[in-house]
Amino acid sequence: MTVMVEGLTKRYGAKVAVGNLSFEVNPGVVTGFLGPNGSGKSTTMRCMIGLDRPNAGRATFQGKAYSALARPLHEVGVLLDAGYVHPGRSGRNHLRWLAASNGIPTKRADEVLELVGLEAVGGKSLRTYSLGMKQRLGLAGVLLGDPHTIILDEPANGLDPEGIRWIRDVLVHQAGLGKSVLVSSHLLSEMALMATALVVIGKGQLIEQSTVADFVARHGDRWVRVASPRVATLVEALRVSGARVEYLDDTTISVYGATAPEVGDAAARYNVALHELTTVTGSLEDAFLRATASVQEYQGGAR
């Protein structure tokens, strides 16, 4: 694996921002980094690249600490906040100082500027950039050194729907090239479309690392939607067998605690015609809220 985070702990005074956090980021997929606001995602990222000193633990990139990378932009591209620019500088000059610091030729700065669609405004001062334009510029900076690892903190922030789609396509493409991509976001629906793997944290602690599919399966609700002209008979039968039923309208119900085959078998036994029989899976958002709520309860109880 490309990125290993092991036992990372960061305290600010008495407050534990990140506690004994371990996870890994593998090449070839986009790994979503999920957590409620204030859960320590940005702190983790800052510790990973040595901006903040962790109290314990470490992060390594292909076995090396970030501080040991001679020209880090060639190995790890990081965008923590698109607002980390000097407003008086032009977008092109921002990329040029960044490029120069790692011995990257000036023409590469122009290349990535074109890549993110900012070539027309490259000479304008960053004061005039919208947040979406700054996000694009930030991504250009990440791509400057063609790194094997990409780390982005809330990259979709401030982008319009088209911009969000664009950044998603870029990241999925980069992952497809075999790179390791770690993206934090609070836009969970976005994450569901983009990420394959997930690292979920709450209050600085790892809740779980898994694939998106496993995570949803484990924490998301699954239920069966059934429509039938004689739905009342079916409800009677299902309740007897221990399932929980909610009416959606006169002929449609949601069944919890029974699988679609079980509902179908029951309907056949009572000779009830079915007009719909669908297994419904809860969204990533539901799963995420459920998973983090449990940790917060646990933490509250432990206090």
Binding site: L80, G83, G88, R89, S90, N93, A100, S101, N102
Partner: protein
Amino acid sequence: MISTLRSEWIKLRTIRMNWVLVAIALAFPLAVSALFVAFAEVGSFDGADVFGLLSFTTVVTTMLLGVVGATTITGEYGFNTIRPTFAATPNRLRVILAKMLVVIVVGIVTTAVVVVAGLSLCTAIASARDVDIDLGAVDGLVEASVGLVVFGTILTVFGLALGSIVRSTPAAVAALILWPLLVENIVSGILGAVGIDNVSKWMPYGAGTQLWTLDSPDAIGGLTEGLGRVGGGLYFGGVVVALLLVGCVFVSRRDA
């Protein structure tokens, strides 16, 4: 190191405020000295007076250079570009060193231009008025001129040092101005009042000004009772280097 230097140079030259500061730093002493030589009563001034005025107004230049030095680091903290900077160059001491070398070049070039252009301009204006200010007859002119360039250069590093300690532009600029104008006088005044005499020569900035003080007895401050040109310069330079080392420790230790 070359990459970091190139990067820091790009940063410095792509901030318009730096050009404005350097332009004022160049224009102020040149304009004041030229106006003086152009309009002062003929026979009321000689070469030592011209250099005295030029060097004294160059104090403004050196202050502005200090601001340039300070903002190379405080501006980065202010706009948070310090984070991409340290992400691109994890070796923070290398970043500070590169900033120091870049502002030293700016300091040398700016003050050297002020001295050379100022003296040439004043000589030209004087000779147009048929006045011979005879700079060759001024004792210690070359030494004091070199000293002025060194002084301006130390001030840029002084600004960088203060900036890396306090991290905020207003605080760094305030410290840069109040230290020479107020703090040194107050400290030596208080120490004098409690009976500790002869401390003013140990005030670093004051000692540093001897770099450009002429040898003549009527020159401001005079060189007779202080640490001398070389001694005062080394002492001030040493204090500034010590401050920069403190700044380096702070920058390395603190979370960016």
